[in-house]
Structure formats: structure tokens, C-alpha cells
Symmetry: C2
Subunit: 457 residues, 2 copies
């Protein structure tokens, strides 16, 4: 039985970067820079036979020369040297390694990959990679990764594609969404998606709120099903499969040398296990955006509060496509809305009309949020003229934070006029969406997780 504790991959007491460098564009150079910039809190060692220091940090000629045994090895040396280096790691009591080096099975060098597997099994070394972009663990300040643009937060990304994961880290940061852990697992010679999911969903005191999995082909289908079933008892898992079509599957096989299997099977795997199936990066991000705030809310009953009919109609269409309900208010609630101008329909979508001011939004929104008649409220604003969109954003924040169980999300349209209002929502963790379709998806993701949560409890 291999070591099942993966903790040193994410939170090691000490680590050694084997192949540290200052060379621009090299993996050893990027990793040294990111580890230093990340301010890793434990003992950080660099090795490189040719250097005494790297970016001002002491560098040892080799692992034998280190003053203490490190807990984790991060390996960025040419592929052919990796198996022998792992043998040396064992002598320093290292049982966890992240191998970024490429030139293994992904380029047809299966013998070298088998040699790596043989060594790691023999000595019980748990390996991430090879041919991966590393691991970033933002709350433990361990940025052993090729990308290091992040805000610490609640999303953990587990990806078969390093560059796709990299682009997700960049986008998350751009959109103000925080990351806990980021794992590019590459060829998955040892630790693969199923084990990672299982470990990370159950990890104690974890800042992770939501897991995201990008997969092109499962290493072991049965293990993946078991792991998704188990992980989703603890945390939502967003699942994006690359290679869902014949043409995409062929591209995936070239990319990760994975056996894609029947491209259609994965959607039913998601359904069966309780993962949240998404078909695009937008859907993935929008799912995380709502769940990072409203992990225990959501449901089928959705209200739209808007100052413009058109976006209300488009959201209604998308709610219908997603099997959500645009239920109508009770007589009691209609009565509570009597102070609205007469021309405002007491119907869902609640159209507050083009001249709606923050006070009108407040009246409608508070009555709806506290009524218990809706699980999610989508607040739309298209600011005509000099309408006070910032004022509306502030009161969305206020009412979202009052005592009720309604999830409130924004859909502010569009451009520069709503930039500051979106910033206000974002800074207060209120998800906001740039289009009617994506706002409807936000309501759907909340309902979806609510259903899964109930079915598993």
C-alpha cells in the first residue's frame, strides 16, 4: 500500500527544488522565482551542480549536500535523470515528489515513464506528474507551479492540462475569484485525479469550498466514479471534460496520450456521481462564482427584478431551458409590493421600469428576499442616462446580508457604466454576471448543488 497522506504535496514542512536556475523561460528558473515570490514558510532548498546561489538564495550542488532532509522534492531536470534522482530522494527520506520534467509517455517515451513508476513504487514515493505544470497551494505559500498569478481563496483546480489550468488561474485572478490549490497532474503516472479529488474534498481545515476537475481521459474509470461519488458528499465538484466529441476526443488523445473512451460517457458519470457537469469555462467560472458565496442556498424558484423588460425576457428563456421556475408571488407578497408605482407589474419578472431608483429596488428586493417564496433572485439593471447603478449595487449588498435564505445575484448590463457597481458587488462577494444567459446559469448552478447536497445528506 502506498502512502495515502498527500499532505506534503500541498503543505510540506520543507522542500527542495532540484534543478533551480535563473535562466529565463526555463522551468527551473520559473519555479525558483515563484517559490521565492510565494514566500514559502518552511525550509526551502535549491540544488544545481553549477550554482552557489539562485536569485540570491543559497543553492546546493546536489541533494546529498543539504543540511536537513526535506519533505518534498520538486523536480525540474531533464527527463532522463529523473528516475536516478528519485533514488537519491529516498536516501534523504523524501516520499513526495512533483515532477515537472517532460519527455516521458507524452512524447512516446514509455520506457522512461515505466522506469519512473517502478522507482516510485519500489520506494513508496508519491509522484505528481511527470510532464506537469506543478502545484500551487496559496494558503500554505507553496507556489511550486509554472503560473503564480493568484488571489488566495476557495477554488481548487485539478487539471490534466497545465496550460488550461494556467489560463484559469489568470482568469480567476482577473475576475477577483480566489484560489486555494492548483494542481496540474500531467501524465498521472502515480497520483491521479481520483486520488486527488478524494483527498482534497475530505482534507481537514481546508480553505477549499469548491473543486474543479478538467479531464481529457480518466486514468481509471471505476476509481473516478468512486472518487466523484465520495468527494461530492463533502464539496461541490465542477467537472469539465475535454474531448466530448469524436473530433475533440481525437485531439485529446494527441494531447495527453489518454484513452479518451466513449466521449459521451462522462456526462452520465457526472449525473450518476453528483458532479456538476459544465460544458464551457464560462459555466465553470460562473458555477464557482455562485457557490463560493451561497454554498447552502439555491433551489428551483427564481425571481427576476429588473428595470428593463428585454433582459428579463432573455433570462426567463434561459431559466426555462434549465428547468427552473419563474413562480408567481402570493397575494400576501403582492400586497407588500403595493407601494411600487402602479405601472410596475406585480408579476415575475418584476419590472421596476426604466426610471427605477435605488429606493424602488430596495422596496421590491427586500419584500422578495424575506418572503421565502424564492430561492434565488436575479437583480438586473441596465442604467439609462445617469441612473444610480452604484446605489443599486450597494443596496443589493445590504439586502443580501440581511437574515433570510435567498441567494441574490446580479446581472448588471453593460460596459463602463456598470464597472464600478460590479466592483462593489465583487468586493462584497455578491456574484454578478455580464449576460442574461450567464445569470440564469448562476441560478441553475445553485439549484444543482442544492439538489446534490440534499440527495447526499
Amino acid at each position: 500500500m502506498p502512502t495515502t497522506d498527500l499532505r506534503p504535496l500541498f503543505n510540506p514542512k520543507s522542500l527542495v527544488l532540484i534543478g533551480a536556475s535563473e535562466r529565463a523561460g526555463s522551468i527551473g528558473g520559473m519555479l525558483a522565482k515563484h517559490l521565492l515570490e510565494g514566500k514559502f514558510k518552511g525550509d526551502l532548498y535549491f540544488t544545481n551542480i553549477k550554482r552557489d546561489s539562485v536569485f540570491g538564495h543559497k543553492c546546493y550542488p546536489n541533494i546529498e549536500a543539504l543540511p536537513k532532509d526535506p519533505e518534498l522534492a520538486v523536480i525540474a531536470i531533464p527527463a532522463r535523470f529523473v528516475p536516478a534522482e528519485l533514488e537519491k530522494c529516498v536516501k534523504r527520506n523524501i516520499h513526495h515528489a512533483i515532477v515537472l520534467s517532460s519527455g516521458f509517455a507524452e512524447v512516446g517515451n514509455k520506457e522512461l515513464e515505466e522506469e519512473l513508476i517502478r522507482v516510485s513504487r519500489k520506494h513508496d514515493i508519491r509522484v505528481i506528474g511527470p510532464n506537469c505544470a506543478g502545484i500551487a497551494s496559496t494558503h500554505t505559500n507553496m507556489i511550486a507551479a509554472m503560473e503564480n498569478t493568484y488571489i488566495p481563496g476557495g477554488l481548487t483546480i485539478i487539471s490534466q492540462s497545465g496550460a488550461l489550468a494556467g489560463s484559469m488561474m489568470l482568469r480567476a485572478t482577473y475576475e477577483g475569484l480566489g484560489i486555494d490549490k492548483w494542481i496540474s497532474f500531467g501524465n498521472a503516472s502515480d497520483v491521479e485525479e481520483a486520488e486527488l479529488l478524494n483527498y482534497l474534498a475530505k482534507e481537514e481545515d481546508s480553505p477549499t469550498k469548491v473543486l474543479f476537475l478538467y479531464l481529457e481521459g480518466a486514468t481509471n474509470g471505476r476509481k473516478l466514479v468512486e472518487s466523484l461519488t465520495e468527494a461530492t458528499k463533502h464539496k461541490p465538484v465542477i467537472f469539465l471534460k475535454g474531448g466530448r466529441t469524436a473530433i475533440g476526443n481525437k485531439a485529446a488523445m494527441t494531447h495527453t496520450a489518454s484513452l479518451g473512451g466513449d466521449p459521451k460517457i462522462y456526462e452520465s458519470v457526472a449525473k450518476q456521481t453528483g458532479a456538476i457537469w459544465v460544458e464551457s469555462l464560462d459555466e465553470a467560472f460562473d458555477t464557482y462564482a455562485v457557490l463560493s458565496t451561497y454554498l447552502d442556498r439555491g433551489g428551483k424558484r427564481v425571481a427576476i427584478v429588473t428595470n428593463s423588460g428585454g433582459p428579463g425576457v432573455l433570462i426567463s428563456d434561459n431559466l426555462d431551458f434549465l428547468n427552473l421556475e419563474l413562480n408567481q408571488p402570493s397575494d400576501k407578497l403582492r400586497e407588500q409590493l403595493k407601494e411600487l408605482p402602479e405601472a410596475c407589474p406585480r408579476e415575475n419578472p418584476f419590472d421596476l421600469l426604466g426610471d427605477a431608483n435605488p429606493e424602488r429596488y430596495e422596496l421590491a428586493l427586500r419584500a422578495l428576499a424575506h418572503s421565502g417564496e424564492f430561492d434565488t433572485i436575479i437583480v438586473v439593471m441596465v442604467p439609462p442616462g445617469d441612473a444610480d447603478v452604484d446605489g443599486v449595487a450597494k443596496l443589493i449588498v445590504k439586502i443580501a446580508n440581511e437574515e433570510h435564505n435567498t441567494a441574490i445575484i446580479g446581472c448588471l448590463l453593460a460596459g463602463k457604466k456598470v464597472e464600478n457597481a460590479i466592483r462593489i458587488l465583487r468586493e462584497n462577494n455578491i456574484p454578478s454576471f455580464p449576460t442574461p444567459k450567464r445569470a440564469a446559469w448562476g441560478a441553475y448552478a445553485l439549484d444543482k448543488w442544492n439538489e446534490i447536497r440534499k440527495s447526499k445528506s
Copy 2:
């Protein structure tokens, strides 16, 4: 037969704003401000019984007092006064009017709307509205509209929803996409979508490259079909229907009091007539983005050039869903790619690997663009470390402008690292998309219009 020349609605020699005002938030105030800021080139008159000047511009007590007959009346007075005001307009030889006033059929006041129709028919006054957000014609500097944030360009927006159209104007500007004309036609008491489409698609010397139609319910189904059939012989028409589902259709009926009709019929109308059917604002914008640059290119054969496998796989999936081809290169083309590093597959998607520099992109891109084997190339870049993404953007521009018939579009992922590169592409009219799915849609929209164009010629 009513006057069929709609020119004075978009390019009048002179116009009068009836109900000009300085009051913040009032329609007459917004319109006065936008007309002045737009620097309308003809004679601009304001009327308001209570004022001598509005924002420093001379204001007449009424239309009778004007020194000359204006060609167009823009009306922003309470609804009940509108029919009588139209009678006065006739005496000043005005036969075109934009009525922004609301309080007609949309609030159940059908009698007043019928009165307005009766007057306009009797005197042959062509009316846009009532209950509309006006018309902006950016190349003729006539901003008789409630929104005035724009860049002059090639998109004409025709919308039943004023606020949705307003949000589109704001978004287009934010994304650097230019607008020619913008028409909110409101209750369509006289001039409706079909006549507008027909007129604007055929207008001579028009800066319009692409038309966009947002409709909740057609005023006259047969006329709409005829008009779409005719308009698409001249220019692409992007068609977004609000109220495609039962629940959305109900919302639409509340919104514009339109008889939605069978919500499913509109998609077949689009197919039958040659309109480009879109299901979201993103699809609408992405269609315009590609067609504004590549109006006469596109087709089924798509190549992906990338430095990252994952996004290539996701684009491949989406191309397959959209029935596009990821065709493989000829032996001749493979031979031309022999200078690429050996590890780069000579297969589509063309993966240039994570360390791809601008030179490698240039080699691949030039060979592919000039091969004649692909209609569209999607260039993906996820910038690892300090990769030269601006350099790649610049050479995309260079190769896109060489002599060939290949449409080149970008898919740069993600965040701040690609912000400047996207700006470079945008300034050179190269469409760029923020996700794999949207890039695939861009290729689809080019193929779609190419097919329609061929079928109509």
C-alpha cells in the same frame, strides 16, 4: 401608400426636438443633451413652451414659431398630447417622427395608440415608436436616443427593447466594436422591424456591415419573413428572439404586449430566410466581431494553432458541435512545417508546445494561411511565464494582412497577461475571443454567413 423613404429618420437635414428640457432624468433632457453632444450637423431646433433656451441652445415656445420647416420631429412630451402635436407637424411639412413618449398600448391605452396611428396614416407621417428609446445614427451625428455611448462603426442594431439595445450599445463600445445605426422601435405603431430591415439593408453608401435584430414578437409574420429573405441578400442579419420558451414568451407578452406566437417558429424563420440565428448576446456580439472584419471569408475547414493542448481540445469539441471540420494538412503542407521542432505534431490542432515563441507561430501561421487548405485559423495562446504574447499578437496582425483568403481569429487566454495583446488585435480589427467556445462560434459565424452568401448569389 405611405412614404417609403425612411432617410429623414436617420439623416435629416434638420430636426426639431419637441419637449426639450434640462431636467435630469427626463427624456426631453436626455435627448437635448445627446443631440447637442452628438453635434448634429443640420439645423437643430428645440421647443418647450416654458423655456427660451435649453443647455445654452435657443428654444422656441412651439413648432409654429420655428423659422424654417424641419424635416424630422423627435417627440418627448406626455403621451396624451402626441396626436395633436403630430397634426401640427404636418403644417410644418414634417413627415417623419420619432415618438419616445410612453403611455400608449404598452400600458393598455390602446385608444390613444389608435389615435396616433389614425393621425399618422391620414397625413402620411412615418412614425418610429411610441414608447421607444429613439434612434442614434452615428455617421450622420444624429443622436436622438436615450443612450449615447458609442464608437462609429458598422453594426446596426434594430431592437424591440430599448434598454436591451442600450446595454448592447454600452457593451459594443466597451469592446471596441463600432455602431452605425441604433433603432429602438418600441410599440411599432407604424414603421416596424420588417420595413426597417428592408430599408437599412439596401440603403446606399451605408456604413452598415451587419444588421442585428432583437425581437420579442413580430408585428406581421409574413412581412418579417419577406423582409429577412430580402435583407440577407444584401447584408448579414443576426437574429435574437426573446421569448423562445413558454416562460420567456409569457414574460415577453407582459413586456411589449406583443403576440409572441409559437416560440419555436422563429428559429425556422431564421433558417428559411438566411438570418443568422443566435441564442445569446455573446453569440450576437461574436458574430458581429468576425463579420465586421471578414465579411467575405469563412467556411467549414478550420485549423487550430496553439501553444497548449487543453484549449485546442475544447475548441475541437465546440467545432464538432457546430458541424465544422478540423481537417488534416496535405503532405505538401506538412513538408512546409518541417522546420518546426520535431516534437510539434504536424496535425490539426497544430500544437506548437508550451515554449512556442513568435517565430514558431509565424512559421506555422504563414504556411497555414497561404496553403488554401483552411478557411479559418483560430490562433490560441496561453502565455506561460514571460512568453511574448504581444509579439504573437503583432505577427497575427501581420499575417492576417498578407494576401490570402484565410480568416485569422484569436483566442488569447487569459486575464491581465493578454490584455495588451487583445488590444493590439482589436486595434487592427482582428477578432479575439476570451474562451475556446466563443472562438469556435466565431469560426461558425463566418461559415454560416459564407453559406448564406453563396446560396443567395
